[in-house]
Symmetry: C2
C-alpha cells in the first residue's frame, strides 16, 4: 500500500509510546499527563451511569453539534460570550477540526516551543508549516511573534497560556493583552488551548486571551483533566461561521460525539459537589507538586533546576546541560519513565534539549521518593 504523504510524515507519538513502556511491572511512571486515579470524581457520576439505560433514547444517534443540555451548560458558564460551542472527542479532536477547517498545505502556524506534540501533529497532518516561537517565564517572545506576523502570512497562532505543556508556564496579564493586540492588528486567528486552566492551585486566575480577542479566537477546553480522560469529551468555542464549518467537518469525520459520554460529563458539571471536587483536585495536586518539588531539591540539589509552577500537572526539569533524551533513556533502565524534552519539539529540531518533563498529578506520593532516587541514579 502506498500511504499519503502526510500520513508518511507523521511520527508515532513518543509520549503514547512511552506510556506503553510505562505499564511494565515495577515501572514508576512520571511520563503521562493523567489525572490522579484516586481523585477521579466517579462518585459524582455514579447515578448517571446507573440510570443510563433507563433512557434508551440516549443510545440513539445524536446531533453533530453536541448534546443539547451540555451545550447549554457551557453557554451558562460563559454568559459574557455569544459564541457557540461544538462538542469534540476530547480537545485533541478540536485541534484536528481546526486544522482541517483552516489550513492548506504550506500555511504557516506559529506555536510556542517546546509544545504539546499532539497539536503539532494535527497541524502537520494538513501539510502546514510550523514557525517555532520561543518563550520565557512571562509567556512568548513578543518581538519574535510580531516579526513572524510581519514577515510571513501567519494563518494561526497556537498557544497554551495557562500551565503550558510541558513548561508549566502561565502568561502574564500584560502578555495576554499584548498578544490579543498583536493578533488583532495583524488579523491572525488565535487558538487558545486551555486544558489545564482549572488546575490552578496557587496565585490568581488571569483572564482568558479569548475574552480579549473574541472575534478571532478559537478556545479549546477539556474535560480530561478535571473529569475523565477515558470518555474523550472536550469542547471548543469560536466565531459562529467557524463553528458551522467545523461541525460540518465533524459530520464527515465521525457524525457526532457519543451521547452517553456527554450525558456523564453534563451530570458531572452540574453536580452540586462539582465545585468541591475542583477544589479537592487543586489541593491534591498542590500537595503532590510540593512533595515532588521538595524531593527533587533534596535528592538532586545542584544537578537540576526548575521554575516553580502554580498549577497544571508538570515540572519542566532542567538538567543543566545534560541530554534529556539520554537521562530519560537511562531512567527507563532504572524502571522510571519520564518524557525527554526533545519529545516536545517538531521532529529533528531539538534532539539536544536538556530537560525532562515530570508529571506530579498521577504519581502515587508513596512512590515519589523512590522515583526521584531512580532519577538520581540516571543522572
Amino acid at each position: 500500500m502506498k500511504f499519503s504523504r502526510h500520513a508518511q510524515s507523521l511520527q508515532a507519538s513518543y509520549i503514547r509510546e512511552i506510556l506503553s513502556a510505562a505499564s511494565q511491572p515495577e515501572m514508576i511512571s512520571m511520563a503521562g499527563g493523567l489525572p490522579a486515579a484516586s481523585l477521579l470524581p466517579v462518585e459524582l457520576i455514579r447515578e448517571a451511569c446507573e440510570s443510563m439505560t433507563d433512557n434508551p433514547q440516549l443510545f440513539q444517534y445524536g446531533s453533530s453539534r453536541g448534546y443539547q443540555p451540555l451545550l447549554e451548560t457551557l453557554a451558562r458558564w460563559s454568559p459574557e460570550s455569544t459564541q457557540p460551542w461544538l462538542i469534540c472527542n476530547g480537545s485533541q479532536q478540536g485541534l484536528d477540526l481546526i486544522a482541517r477547517a483552516l489550513l492548506e498545505p504550506g500555511d504557516q502556524v506559529v506555536a510556542e516551543v517546546p509544545a504539546y506534540l499532539g497539536a503539532l501533529q494535527a497541524f502537520q497532518l494538513t501539510g502546514a508549516s510550523l514557525l517555532p516561537l520561543l518563550s520565557g517565564a512571562a509567556g512568548p517572545d513578543l518581538d519574535q511573534l510580531e516579526h513572524y506576523f510581519k514577515v510571513t502570512d501567519v494563518k494561526l497562532f497556537y498557544a497554551v497560556p495557562d500551565f503550558h505543556n510541558p513548561t508549566g508556564r502561565v502568561w502574564s496579564a500584560e502578555t495576554r493583552i499584548a498578544v490579543a493586540t498583536l493578533c488583532r492588528h495583524y488579523g491572525v486567528t488565535l487558538i487558545e488551548d486551555s486544558p489545564y486552566r482549572q488546575l490552578r492551585f496557587s496565585g490568581a486566575q488571569l483572564c482568558s486571551v479569548s475574552e480579549l480577542y473574541p472575534e478571532q479566537t478559537i478556545r479549546l477546553i477539556s474535560f480530561s483533566k478535571t473529569g475523565f480522560p477515558g470518555l474523550r469529551v472536550g469542547a471548543m468555542s469560536g466565531p459562529a461561521e467557524f463553528i458551522t464549518v467545523a461541525e460540518r467537518i465533524k459530520q464527515a469525520t465521525d457524525l457526532h460525539t457519543g451521547i452517553p459520554q456527554q450525558v456523564i460529563i453534563h451530570r458531572l458539571l452540574n453536580h452540586p459537589e462539582y465545585p468541591e471536587h475542583l477544589i479537592r483536585l487543586q489541593q491534591g495536586y498542590r500537595s503532590r507538586y510540593q512533595y515532588l518539588s521538595a524531593e527533587l531539591h533534596q535528592q538532586l540539589g545542584q544537578l537540576i533546576e526548575f521554575d516553580p509552577v502554580e498549577g497544571g500537572m508538570f515540572i519542566w526539569l532542567s538538567l543543566k546541560g545534560k541530554s534529556g533524551a539520554q537521562v530519560a533513556s537511562r531512567a527507563l533502565t532504572h524502571k522510571l519513565a519520564v518524557v525527554p524534552g526533545a519529545a516536545f519539539y517538531d521532529k529533528g529540531t531539538a534532539t539536544k534539549d536538556c530537560h525532562i518533563r515530570l508529571n506530579f498529578s498521577n504519581t502515587d506520593t508513596a512512590l515519589v521518593q523512590e522515583a526521584v532516587a531512580r532519577l538520581a541514579k540516571a543522572l
Copy 2:
C-alpha cells in the same frame, strides 16, 4: 476567516439536516437510518453501565488501538484472519482514517452510485476524485469497474456489498469473486463497508469480499446498527501496515476511542443473550419491512415500484419518473420526512433522480399506514 479549500467544498449532509426537520412535532420520519428504539439491547448492558464506576481505571486514558478485551473479542470472531483491528468512533471515523492514510488530492476513488454520502464526504475532504460506478440487482457493473481499473490509476474501490445504503442490494456470490479477482489483478485496495451485514432477515449469508481478498481489503464494521449508534463505536481491520498508519493518524485525531463506551460494546458482544438479540432484531425488521412493503403496494399501487430486500434498513422506492426531490419536499409539507435519491449522489450529479429512500427499521408500525397515506398525498 478563510476556510481551507476542502472545508469550503464540503456540503452539509442533507440527511443530517432532514433529521433535524424530522424531529418537528407531528412529523413522521422515515428518513434516518436509526435502529428501532424498542429493540435497542439496553437490558444486555444494564449491568455494565451500573458497575462502570466501580472501576475508575476505565475512565483514564486508554490505548489508541482500542480496549484490549474488545480487540480480543473481534479477533475471536474472525479466527481465520490474522489481520489486526482498530477501534474507531463509529465506522464513519474508519472511513475518515482510510481517506487520510491513503488519499492524496486528485487520487481516484471508485464508488457505487447512489452511495452513502458520509463515505463520499470523507474521501472528498482529502481532495480525492470520485468515479461513479453503476450497479444493478446483483452488484456493480463489472465491465465499468474493469474499465476504470484499466484506464485510470484507481486508488480505492469503496463498496457496501451487503444491504447497500440506499438501495438495499446484496452482491451475488459471483460478483464477490469477480470483484476480488479484478481488485487483485489491478492491485486496487478494496474498502468493504459492512454496517448492515448482520441485519439479514431472509436468504443465505454470503462470504465477505474481504475473505476473498484479505491482502488488500480494509473492512469496516459498525456497532451502530446491531448495538447503539449513540455510543459511536465501530472497528476496522486490514493489512497490519495499514492499521499501524491508521492508528498513528487516530492518535493525532483524538488519541483514542473512549473506554467506557468500548466496555459497553464489549459486554454487549459477550452477553450470552447477544445471539438471541440479533435474531430478535432480524425478525423485528423483517416484520417491519413486510408491513411497509404491503402498505406501499396497497396504497400506492402502480405509482411506485421497488426491489424486495432481504435485510438492512431501507427500501429504495422508484417513483417511476417523478422527481424524488420534489416528492420528498412535498412529503415534508404533509409531515412526512423521507430522503430523496439525489442526496445519495455526489453534489450536482443527479438532481433528477426519481427515487426516495424509506427507512423501515425505526418507524413505529402503528404509524406506517398513516406515513404511506401522507406519501400518497405527496405523490
